[in-house]
Amino acid sequence: MRPDSIDAAPDIHEQELRQLNLNTQIIGVINDAGISLRAVTKRYGKKAVVDDISLVIEPGEFMTFLGPSGSGKTTTLNMIAGFVSATEGLLHIYGKPVAKLPAHKRDIGMVFQNYALFPHKTVAENIAYPLDRRKISRSEQKTMIAGALQMVRMGEFGDRYPTELSGGQQQRVALARALVYQPRVLLMDEPLGALDKKLREWLQKEIKRIHREVGSTFVYVTHDQEEALSLSDRIAVFNNGRIEQVGSPAELYQRPATLFVGRFLGESTVLSGSRVDSLHGTTTLNISGHDIRVPGEQDSTSLAILIRPENITLHDEGTVTDSTRINSLPVIVLDSSYLGSAWRCEVQLPDGSVGTVREAHSTIVREPGTRAVMRWNVDSGVLLVDTGEAGVSLT
């Protein structure tokens, strides 16, 4: 059923790779990967929109490209899809080099933000379109279309035209159309970007379920960090045409490799300061005159500590005693709001910047303007190089 073009001539292709002076271990990685990008660059004129990206996406993995607009995530997706050709680098899909393969021969499925359903075809005709290209018989098509519509819970809508459906329904049809021919790779370009919050959350669950059911490699582009965290096996965080970090949602949240990643995913408090000393794997920083300890060592002179809001507690002034395992800093409460499950406080740090605290079990209402002490376990801080970048707005 799958067109055999994808599996063509592995011998020639290995020869080709050897000519590029890649060692056998790398060739093995490329052959075993669902999607492999090696040193991929895309330049428009002199500007590198995608700058020397290398990434291995495992077969069956749910990989999300997360980043602000203009970070290169969509261009990278378009290179995998075949809409944009890479200026440099190697691109392989299931071990097959695809750099010179046009989009229609890559055997991928794609879902677009604006659904891209064919308006002159009914839902069933839309889903039949890729099956016609694959010369599948009418009778077989019928069962496949019914199955695909069943999968996205749109069984009743085969005879409708796209314009007669809501946005969420159209996107489900688009999913069915992109998956009905069982492509090994499904690309999604901000598929939920045009939908409202409730529908988005529901469709996220649907996409997760469908990913489990079909087992294809999913590549999902979004600028919504919550969406990325809840959907993905792994996330690649894009910034300025480069990948800042690749990891599981928990890794990225708990152990961000760069300040950009830490700020882009979830809420955080960032303390900038200069190094006092590094001893036994613990670094001490001077933060506005206070000695603050953090695990790890970094070479750079300008350093920062990132702490997640749920790892910080607030205390009244003078009620706390210092300990070697706990850091504390005096703060002023700026704002506090009750979220039901927790209190969320914004506090002013000694250097004037704003930090965030999330207290799950506090019963104390903290009035704006009151002084307090924020404390956190030394181990919950993350030592990072201070790149001097301003905070990222989470839109």
Partner: protein
């Protein structure tokens, strides 16, 4: 109030002024006297009978239809390709090229006619069917390009990308996705091309030969050389052909607007 009334009167007069020369031909075509004098005397269908039985008139009608149909096909095919090409590529000076394709609408017909005349003389195309088709395509092409370009702007480029990911090559995508979606514009453009060719007189006068004349050329010759009232009947037939085709084009365009809305 008086101003409003005066303006209404002016409007009515303008409409009459625009319509009368066209409408006056209708009663003339039923004239029983063999003259162009207005008002006509009596009622007769003899000029229509004359038109439909005279082999020279029938030949001219046949030539006109033949030239118009071939021109329509050629101009539509070229116009679709040009419009798609212009919508796809991006380069400096693109608007210059776009305007270049529309020059036949702006350049005086007589200039094109003289240019074509000298070219056709050199290549022995005067008085030939290919000559007529080539000449008429020059003036019909811009109308196809304008209509198809307008249609293409309503087509989401993501649809073609979606078609590609689903396994369709460029040609398949064009015939299955793009063409059906721009069909209203293509239809309108084709009908405009037909009418343009069917009504064309300036270029045709230069290209004509005694063996090959289109209807407008034959009408012109009949009026200037012999005062034959048959032309009134011919003109009415030609007029209604054009009006019907144009109304169809209008209808196609309106349908396009509804679909894109």
């Amino acid at each position: 109030m008086t101003l409003k009334r005066a303006l209404s009167a002016l409007a009515v007069l303008t409409v009459l002024w625009l319509l009368l020369p066209t409408l006056v031909i209708i009663p003339m075509s039923f004239n029983s006297a063999a003259s162009f004098n207005f008002p006509p005397q009596g009622f007769s269908l003899q000029w229509y009978a004359n038109f439909f039985t005279d082999p020279s008139w029938m030949r001219a009608l046949g030539s006109s239809l033949q030239v118009a149909l071939i021109t329509m096909v050629v101009a539509t095919a070229l116009g679709i390709m040009a419009a798609i090409g212009l919508s796809k590529v991006r380069f400096r000076g693109k608007s210059l090229l776009e305007n270049f394709f529309l020059t036949p609408l702006i350049v005086p017909g007589i200039v094109i006619a003289i240019g074509l005349y000298s070219l056709f003389l050199r290549f022995n195309l005067l008085g030939t069917l290919p000559g007529f088709v080539l000449a008429h395509t020059v003036v019909a092409l811009p109308l196809v390009i304008i209509n198809v370009t307008a249609s293409l702007q309503g087509v989401d480029p993501r649809l073609e990308q979606a078609s590609a990911t689903l396994g369709a090559g460029r040609l398949r995508t064009f015939f299955s996705i793009t063409l059906p979606l721009i069909m209203p514009g293509v239809t309108a453009g084709a009908l405009f091309a037909f009418v343009t060719s069917f009504d064309e007189i300036i270029l045709s006068l230069f290209i004509q030969s005694p063996q090959l004349q289109t209807l407008p050329v034959k009408i012109y010759n009949s009026v200037t050389q012999a005062s034959d009232p048959t032309v009134a009947a011919v003109a009415v037939v030609a007029m209604f052909t054009s009006v019907i085709v144009m109304l169809t084009a209008q209808f196609a365009t309106r349908k396009r607007k509804r679909v894109s809305a």
